[in-house]
Amino acid sequence: MQTVKIKEIIKETKNIKTFRLDLDLPALPGQYVMLWVPGYDEKPLSISYPGEDVGLTILKKGPTTTRLHEMKAGDVLGVRGPFGRALKISGKKIIAVGGGVGMAPIAPLIEKAISKGVEATVIVGAVTKRELLFVDRVEKAGAKVIITTDDGTCGLKCYTTHALEQELKAEKYDECFTCGPEVMMYMVLGIAKKHKVPTQASMERYFKCGIGICGACVMDDGGLRVCKEGPNFRDVEIEKFKDFGKYTRDASGKKIYW
């Protein structure tokens, strides 16, 4: 655990802020840290800006993230990590689907892909226009961007999955990445499989240790640990998960069906 000061806070959307920390933390796209909010809790969070002044992009959701959103530059946070298996780019023309704050690991992935000469399309989805995350960032990186909003206030009025279906019908891609609500990722995997596009998805489960010993985040039926073997898994691994898209577990280990 290293405790560091918040260097800068950027308001990204109504409910999402990026916290740049006074810490140089080299990391690969899709890796995460355990972020300690002293006196509150510790949560696993995707790294949205790896390296110098490492950045975490966080949705205000529960008591801990609400507290985070009230914090100011100069306040102290604790960081463990980076942890986890990264998203690995092997395609030459990729498509990524980011739902809501799920864009946090997708944006650095796209920047890395394009810097390696990979052609990239990103489907950025949100409930409404003012919750769209990192549209400008991936556009600036040079990606083709397709926007979807549930209420039609920006881009296509549909879910990301509809846009993906259309895009995969129209264009040939050799790799797909996704991060967002589990139901969305479940559908993304199904659509990509139909079009024979190999996919990696970023899982979310309740974490305690982050280092592969507590067992809070294991997926049935193989017992793979989201914190260690994940959080990014390949479609061939995910297809064996009995709980993906069906249930998660709370801090007690009890199954909670979606």
Binding site: T3, E42, C214, G215, M219, D221, G223, G253
Partner: protein, 300 residues
């Protein structure tokens, strides 16, 4: 060559998954068996579901690992399917049980037995929840009472997991023996705290937790040595086993098997295979034919 026996359970090798590690989901327990664990101890299960303490619950410190998970578990009613999956691993499954009263210990242990576990481990040593765990295992009378009550209610072997956070560990072990306990596990984590000096507060959500890892191994080895010397109880050694050499120390102190916990963080789930292989290599080099020749050799 590595076969051993503890409380009538036959183990192919002496490496046992310690309670609290990868232990409240069946598929995770089964995976440890497939990675070479000779037996599995489940996460400690209680009568009711508990969410446990707030994070941070587990952190690495210079001296090892600190944890205060707070007996998080899904409750015994939800645990049957997890035991069934764990048993597919093909090695003995030991159900760890805690309670806030003697009656709770008895009731959870009885259900655990119904689920088909091969033995019960009584958590008399968790340092992180008041009125459970170490609340029972630091007094001779309460230890006797819990062990006796559970022994009277189940037919599978009963093992008591003890804490070195007590004035007289041998006296506690003797109380277990008087209550006809089948064996003991020694030791649990040692009460500990880490303060972050920049934040000016303890890091763990529960503030105080338990220390584990290599730094507590000498405490564990001494505890095993004394219990073996002073009682006739079979003992599982626990605390800081990361390598075959660590395991051999415990065996030489008199342990019949060793439990592995946070070593999983340092060497991966295959630590069970690795430690077994290292024990075997030591035995070949030093002309030991069976673990029986090693167990207790340091007692003199």
């Amino acid at each position: 060559m590595l076969e051993t026996e503890i409380c009538g359970l036959k183990l192919d090798n002496p490496t046992v998954l310690a309670s609290g590690i990868l232990g409240n989901v069946g598929s995770s327990l089964r995976r440890c068996a497939r990675q070479g664990a000779g037996a599995l101890v489940t996460k400690s299960i209680g009568k009711h579901e508990r969410q446990g303490h707030k994070n941070p619950t587990v952190i690495r410190v210079k001296e090892g690992y600190l944890n205060a998970v707070g007996l998080a578990n899904q409750g015994i009613a939800e645990f049957g399917c997890e035991v069934a999956t764990a048993k597919e691993g093909g090695v003995p499954v030991i159900g760890s049980v805690f309670g806030f009263s003697v009656r709770e210990f008895v009731s959870v242990a009885a259900t655990m037995e119904d689920y088909g576990v091969d033995a019960i481990e009584l958590n008399l040593s968790c340092p992180n929840v008041g009125k459970a765990g170490a609340f029972f295992g630091t007094g001779e009378e309460l230890t006797y009472e819990v062990v006796k009550a559970v022994k009277d209610s189940v037919s599978v072997p009963v093992i008591a997991k003890l804490t070195a956070n007590t004035g007289d560990l041998v006296a506690i072990a003797k109380a277990c023996e008087r209550a006809e306990c089948d064996g003991v596990t020694a030791i649990n984590t040692l009460k500990a705290m880490k303060i972050d000096i920049k934040a000016g507060m303890p890091i763990l959500g529960h503030k105080i937790g338990g220390l584990s890892g290599p730094s507590i191994k000498p405490v564990g080895v001494a505890s095993v040595y004394e219990i073996v010397k002073e009682t006739d109880l079979p003992v599982m050694g626990c605390g800081g086993v990361t390598t075959g050499e660590d395991a051999i120390e415990y065996l030489m102190a008199g342990a019949s098997a060793v439990q592995i916990g946070v070593g999983v963080a340092d060497r991966g789930i295959s630590i069970f295979k690795k430690v077994s292989r290292e024990i075997e290599e030591f035995m070949v080099e030093n002309n030991y034919k069976s673990l029986k020749e090693i167990i207790g050799v340091a007692q003199g």
